[in-house]
Amino acid sequence: MDYSHYWNPNIAAVPKSGIRKFFDIVQTMPGAISLGVGEPDFVTPYHIRNAAIDSLLDGETQYTSNWGKLSLRNEIAYYLQHRYSLTYDPQKEILVTVGASEGIDLALRALLNPGDEVLVPEPSYVSYRPGVVFAGGVPVPIKTDAARNFVLTPEELEASIGPRTKALILPYPNNPTGAVIGREALQKLRDVIVRHDLLVVSDEIYSELSYGEEDHVSIASLPEMWERTVYLNGFSKAFAMTGWRVGYLCAPAQLMDVIVKIHQYTIMCASTQGQVAAEEALRQGREDHYADVETMRRSYDHRRRLMFNAFREMGLSCFEPLGAFYVFPGIEKTGLSSEEFCEKLLRQKEVACVPGTAFGACGEGHIRCCYATALDKLDIALKRIADFVHAL
């Protein structure tokens, strides 16, 4: 049967994920080491898992409120206030979602009219562009580069704004580059955003994984920005809880009134045990100053230094990432494209990385390597990559 008359051509035209091919090749190589993952190598801390088990044993198997458990929303409100100086009312400004990914979708669908433009700094996470298209909008990529630490500049932002521009997605700390954005840079962006009356969808899922001198700053904490920001975060990266699928979206109550409708009618609520686990993560964190997070962050930080140092020693350019758990070295000097480099490396040395182009065309010339992997494996992988690069 020919379905092409049935499906929505806009959605059918969205390209398949660029990493699928690598996934398929790796599957056939049992000895391969993968630096292509996008999640922590820690298992969720035991006390968090245990809280979910207890809740199951207690028979907590029902729906929660559409908004998520109030006790969890209270914890989120406390956490955001104390960690990032963000004030949200747990009754009407915090929505528990199925990962921050759902939050991206909700925000875009609630905001966009057909043809509205959304600015997407790239390289960045693979879901933004398709998300904009699914919501009927038009994604407008803004190129960032290593020379400017992969940070969006106010000039480039301003140059990309047109009459249909409605919102900016702000993806920092960034996947895949590991770039972070500091207060000063945010303030400059704010001036442009306010002047052009834009909204910001700020994806801060990696906010806990910042390694620089400056603590993570949320754009929503800047003057005049709270009311213009849809704030996204979640538990996946900070608490090693990817598989639980729990995130949250925060926005001013008026905006939330619209956003929550989509969630209400399509999702009902995030999984109950995921919410229980998330609440335990924050409750314990409140008591022990987020010791779990700090232990993991420190371990990533050690491996981060090891990784970017190793790439520099190989003679490749490597911007020092100060966030997330990725390095994004430049491989232009090898003469290979990102995709060629990754495919050859995988076939010849059995190390999987992700080509930079999976995160936007401007990722060409780079590869993404995740350092959330056991130290002994990282050592072997780095050795193999060095052998590969030197033999070219």
Binding site: S17, S34, V37, E39, V126, R298, R305, V354, L375
Partner: protein
């Protein structure tokens, strides 16, 4: 500085064979700083020894282990220290702890055979004049020691490539 010291110790505890160069890179410090810190900690007795965690059950070596609770009469001026010293000098005794609760000292004792261990308890330990009682518990299986899990999978369950 104190944090750095703890981070360094934690890395060494995970792998004390880690080369200095690598420790220095991972901690973001000059090599000389790390070398000096280690030397200093060795001198001050913070680092006592570099030894591997061994699962002896996977070797052919015959070996029995027991935890022994010991009740003793503390001595004037010396408290428990003198008797602890008399006990820890035995080669069979691998660890000695002073405990709160129903008994005073807890020993981890290792011997080649059950017979040898029984011999140690009956002829060396119990006969010490300040020892008023012992209770010996044989170790049947070691699941976790020094933070290392001895059995069970440490497999990476993640998908190989994801965004």
């Amino acid at each position: 500085m104190q944090n750095l010291q703890i981070e360094l110790l934690q890395l060494l505890q995970q792998d004390c064979r880690m080369p200095l160069e690598k420790l220095a890179v991972m901690l973001g410090q000059p090599l000389e700083t790390i070398a000096a810190m280690i030397e200093d900690m060795e001198k001050r007795g913070i680092i006592l020894r570099y030894s591997p965690v061994i699962n002896w059950d996977k070797t052919d070596r015959e070996r029995v282990e027991a935890m022994i609770e010991v009740r003793v009469t503390p001595q004037r001026d010396e408290g428990f220290d003198a008797i602890a010293k008399r006990i820890y000098r035995f080669d069979e005794v691998k660890s000695v702890y002073l405990m709160s609760g129903a008994y005073d000292l807890l020993l981890l004792v290792e011997a080649h055979s059950l017979k040898e261990l029984a011999y140690f308890v009956s002829t060396k330990l119990s006969v010490l004049e300040t020892v008023t009682g012992t209770a010996t518990h044989f170790v049947l299986k070691r699941y976790k020691s020094d933070g290392v899990i001895f059995e069970g999978d440490a497999q990476d369950k993640r998908l190989a490539v994801n965004p």
